[in-house]
C-alpha cells in the first residue's frame, strides 16, 4: 500500500469546486508522507481529462454506464474495486452531500471509519476536525490497518490552479444493474430563487438566539437601517420563521458581503462555511465561547435584545 488517492466529486460532468480543495489536501498529505498523489473521477466515460494537474502521478477515469447518474451502490461498488487495485494508504474526498451519502459505506467495506469533515492535516498524519458544532477541535488518528478514508471540509484547503495534464488511466469496474437498489430522479429546485444573497453588500443574519418568531422584527429593523438583506441560520428557516431562500450555510446560500452582521448565531460549522468569506464579520452573542467569534472581526458578548435596538437607533442617527 502506498500513495494518496483523491476521489473528485462531479455531477453531470461539472466538477464540484470542493474537489480541487480536496486535491490540494491530498497533495499536502502526500508530501508529508513522501508518497505520490493520484486522483479519480467517476462517470459514464471520458472523465479525468482537462482537470489540469501535471503534479498528479495518475488520473483514474472510472468509467461505466451505471455511473452516469450517481447512486450509492454504483459508487461504492466501483470505488471498492478501484481502491483494491490502486492500494492507496489514504483516500481523500471533498465533504460534499454526495460524498456523505456513500463514503461511510465504502469505508465500512474495508472495516475502516471515514474521518469526516477534516479542517487540517498535521504530521503523523493527524487529522483535525470539529466537535460540538465547532466549539472544540479534535485530533484524530487512524488506528486500523486498511486504507484511511478522509473527507475534507469546504474552504479549509486552498485550491491551486495547476497547468499540464496528468496521465489518464481508464478503469472499468464490474458493476451489475441488479446491484443498484435505488432509482434516482432528476434534480430540481423548489422555486426560482428570488433572493440572491450572494450579491448583497451588507447582510444582517439572525440565529437561534432570537428565541421567538415575533422577535425577528428587531433584526429586520436593523437590516432596514443598514440597507441590508436579512438572512438566517438553518434553525430559523427550519421553524418557518423566515423562508428557506434566506438561509446562509452549507444547505443554503454562500455569501461574501462587505459586512456580515451575525445576531444570535452560534456559528455551527454548517453556517460558517456559508459566510466565512465575508470581508468583515460582526457577531453579537450572549455566549462568549460561541464559535462565531472565531471568525468575527468585532465581537459583542451581550444581550441582543438590548444591543440590537440600540444599534438600530445609533445607525439611523449616524445616517441623518
Amino acid at each position: 500500500m502506498s500513495g494518496v488517492l483523491v476521489v473528485m466529486d462531479q455531477r453531470g460532468g461539472v466538477m464540484n469546486r470542493m474537489s480541487f480543495e480536496a486535491l490540494a489536501a491530498g497533495k499536502q498529505l502526500a508530501a508529508k508522507l513522501g508518497a505520490e498523489c493520484s486522483a479519480a473521477v467517476l462517470g459514464e466515460s471520458g472523465g479525468g481529462g482537462g482537470v489540469g494537474n501535471a503534479a498528479l502521478a495518475r488520473m483514474y477515469s472510472v468509467e461505466h454506464a451505471l455511473l452516469k447518474v450517481y447512486t450509492a451502490d454504483g459508487y461504492v461498488g466501483a470505488l471498492e474495486q478501484l481502491v483494491k487495485k490502486v492500494e492507496p494508504t489514504h483516500v481523500l474526498f471533498p465533504h460534499t452531500y454526495q460524498v456523505r451519502d456513500f463514503a461511510p459505506a465504502l469505508a465500512t467495506r474495508f472495516k475502516q471509519v471515514l474521518i469526516s469533515d477534516v479542517i487540517a492535516v498535521h504530521d503523523g498524519p493527524v487529522f483535525v476536525r470539529q466537535l460540538l458544532q465547532g466549539k472544540l477541535n479534535a485530533d484524530y488518528r487512524q488506528t486500523g490497518s486498511g486504507p484511511c478514508f478522509v473527507s475534507v471540509q469546504a474552504g479549509s484547503f486552498r485550491a491551486e490552479a495547476e497547468s499540464g495534464e496528468a496521465a489518464v488511466e481508464v478503469f472499468v469496474p464490474a458493476i451489475d444493474a441488479a446491484q443498484i437498489r435505488n432509482k434516482p430522479g432528476e434534480l430540481f429546485r423548489e422555486s426560482t430563487q428570488t433572493v440572491d444573497l450572494s450579491a448583497a453588500p451588507v447582510i444582517v443574519s439572525v440565529g437561534r438566539g432570537i428565541g421567538e418568531e415575533s422577535n425577528i422584527g428587531i433584526v429586520q429593523e436593523l437590516a432596514d437601517a443598514l440597507g441590508a438583506e436579512l438572512a438566517a441560520s438553518r434553525p430559523i428557516c427550519d421553524n418557518g420563521w423566515l423562508p428557506m431562500e434566506r438561509q446562509v450555510g452549507s444547505s443554503g446560500q454562500t455569501v461574501s458581503p462587505k459586512l456580515y452582521l451575525a445576531v444570535g448565531i452560534s456559528g455551527a460549522i454548517q453556517h460558517l462555511v456559508g459566510m466565512k468569506g465575508s470581508k468583515a464579520v460582526i457577531a453579537i452573542n450572549k455566549d462568549e465561547h460561541a464559535p462565531i467569534f472565531e471568525v468575527a472581526d468585532y465581537g459583542v458578548v451581550g444581550d441582543l435584545f438590548e444591543v440590537v435596538p440600540a444599534l438600530t437607533k445609533a445607525v439611523l442617527a449616524a445616517k441623518q
Binding site: 470539529q130 466549539k135 435505488n182 432509482k183 430522479g185 434534480l187 429546485r189 472581526d297 440600540a310 445607525v315
Partner: protein, 254 residues
C-alpha cells in the same frame, strides 16, 4: 409498517463545555443532555408516517443509564416501544463499533424502515446511519426532507447543496438519514407523558467492544482563533456607538 428510529443523546446546545484535564474528552460531570436534534426530526417523520400508514414506531438508543430519559421523552411523543442498548463505553467504540451494536439490536426487530438523524450535534461524523445500512445489507438514502410510501417501496426527497433536491425511489427495508426542517417537531402532551409510563422499554446489553478501533480521538482542545477579534464592551448604548464608529470608518458601510 414497522419503523425503528435510532436516536442519540447529546449535551444540551447551551452547555458550557470544559475539556478534561487529560485533554481526551469533555467533562461530563455537570452536563445536561438532550435528544440529538436531527434525531428528533427522524422521530417526528416516523410518527407522521405511522399516523398516515399505520404500524409501529420503536425507538432505540445506545448509551449509559442517563439515555433512558431521552427514550422516555420519545415514548411520550408517541413512540410505541423503546429499546435501551446498555453501553457505558461508547467513547471506546468508533462509528463502526456503535453502528454494529445498533445493527445487532435492529436485526432482532426486522423493521421495514430505519430512520435516524443525518449527523450528531456532538461528534458530527455524520455516518452512523449509512454504516448501519451497510452492515445490515439494506439500501439507504441520506439528508432526506420528505418520505412517501409508494407501493411496496418509498419515494424520498433528498436535499443537495445550493437549493437543489432530488427524488429517489427505493425498495424496503431501507434506512434513511433525516435532515432537520422537513416537519414541525411536536411536543409531548400531558396525556402522552402519562401513557409513556405504561409503554415497554426493553434493555439489552451491548456486546463487549472488540478493542480494535479503526480511528481514535487523541485530543480535544479549544480551536485557535482564525481572526483577531476586537471585543466591544460597555452598556448597550456605548456598544452601539462603538459599532457605528467601526461601520463608518473601518467597514465603511454607512
Amino acid at each position: 409498517m414497522k419503523i425503528l428510529v435510532a436516536v442519540k443523546q447529546v449535551p444540551e446546545r447551551d452547555a458550557q463545555i470544559r475539556v478534561t484535564a487529560d485533554g481526551k474528552w469533555i467533562d461530563e460531570g455537570d452536563l445536561s443532555y438532550t435528544i440529538n436534534e436531527p434525531d428528533a426530526y427522524a422521530l417526528e417523520e416516523a410518527l407522521q408516517l405511522k399516523e398516515k400508514n399505520g404500524g409501529e414506531v420503536v425507538v432505540v438508543c445506545a448509551g449509559p443509564e442517563r439515555v433512558t430519559s431521552t427514550l422516555r421523552e420519545a415514548l411520550a411523543k408517541g413512540a410505541d416501544r423503546a429499546i435501551h442498548i446498555e453501553a457505558d463505553d461508547l467513547g471506546e467504540r468508533d462509528t463502526l463499533g456503535v453502528a454494529q451494536i445498533l445493527a445487532d439490536a435492529v436485526k432482532a426487530e426486522a423493521p421495514d424502515l430505519i430512520l435516524t438523524g443525518l449527523q450528531s450535534d456532538d461528534l458530527g461524523l455524520g455516518q452512523t446511519g449509512v454504516v448501519m445500512a451497510e452492515l445490515l445489507g439494506i439500501p439507504h438514502a441520506t439528508i432526506i426532507m420528505q418520505v412517501e410510501v409508494v407501493g411496496a417501496g418509498l419515494k424520498v426527497k433528498r436535499e443537495l447543496e445550493d437549493g437543489w433536491f432530488q427524488h429517489v425511489e427505493m425498495p424496503l427495508p431501507a434506512l434513511l438519514t433525516i435532515q432537520s426542517g422537513g416537519n414541525k417537531l411536536r411536543y409531548a402532551t400531558l396525556m402522552g407523558i402519562k401513557k409513556a409510563k405504561t409503554k415497554e422499554t426493553k434493555t439489552v446489553t451491548a456486546a463487549a467492544a472488540s478493542g480494535a478501533k479503526a480511528i481514535a480521538l487523541e485530543r480535544v482542545y479549544l480551536p485557535e482563533k482564525q481572526k483577531k477579534t476586537e471585543m466591544l464592551t460597555g452598556t448597550a448604548t456605548e456598544i452601539a456607538a462603538k459599532l457605528v464608529e467601526k461601520l463608518k470608518f473601518e467597514v465603511r458601510v454607512i
